[in-house]
Symmetry: C2
Subunit: 120 residues, 2 copies
Amino acid sequence: MPQPPIWNIRLTLTYMLANTPTTPYYAVIFTSIRTDIEAGYEEMAHEMVRLAALQPGYLGHESARNELGITISYWESLEAIKAWKAQSDHQIAQKQGREIWYSSYKTRIALVERDYEMIL
Amino acid sequence: MPQPPIWNIRLTLTYMLANTPTTPYYAVIFTSIRTDIEAGYEEMAHEMVRLAALQPGYLGHESARNELGITISYWESLEAIKAWKAQSDHQIAQKQGREIWYSSYKTRIALVERDYEMIL
């Protein structure tokens, strides 16, 4: 039997705002501008989200794109971030990103010291 | 005489990726889900960007929205963030945000420890 619509909406909302634990934890803020090359991009982006979620210390992610794209992944520690940066499929994606999909990007590693929210 | 197109493109790129100084500095990550109410929202959002840029310690901002919206503002210090949170027009916008424009949001205050970039 299909779920009533209200449940689907709530699950989506919960999914989109990353449900991070109490502070402190780390954020990797990846801000990027895409090239016009579409081939392979969406598949890569989805695969990277899937693989990141399998890494030790992964806490969640949030993403949005207009002209500018912002993807934030949340991590328990700098060690967890370092391990994800070195993960082999991710290394290939980073190289292809520089060569094919992104015209510019900036990555920022940040310690989240405080957070507060309104979740209805 | 109009600028040649290449200049316009470069200005846009420079504008969209926040040109932050060397680390450390602070990021305020505001992740939100909108209600269906459009009235007044765009005007408020633009006005808040304009006013934030007038605050002492403001370093830049980046923003994108699909179902999820992410706005990151960058600041020199926690004191600068505190002063902006208390700014009177911003206080009104925060109250209206909770009551009218956002169904859910999360704010994270983070110390950017490292960054690296590719700017073509």
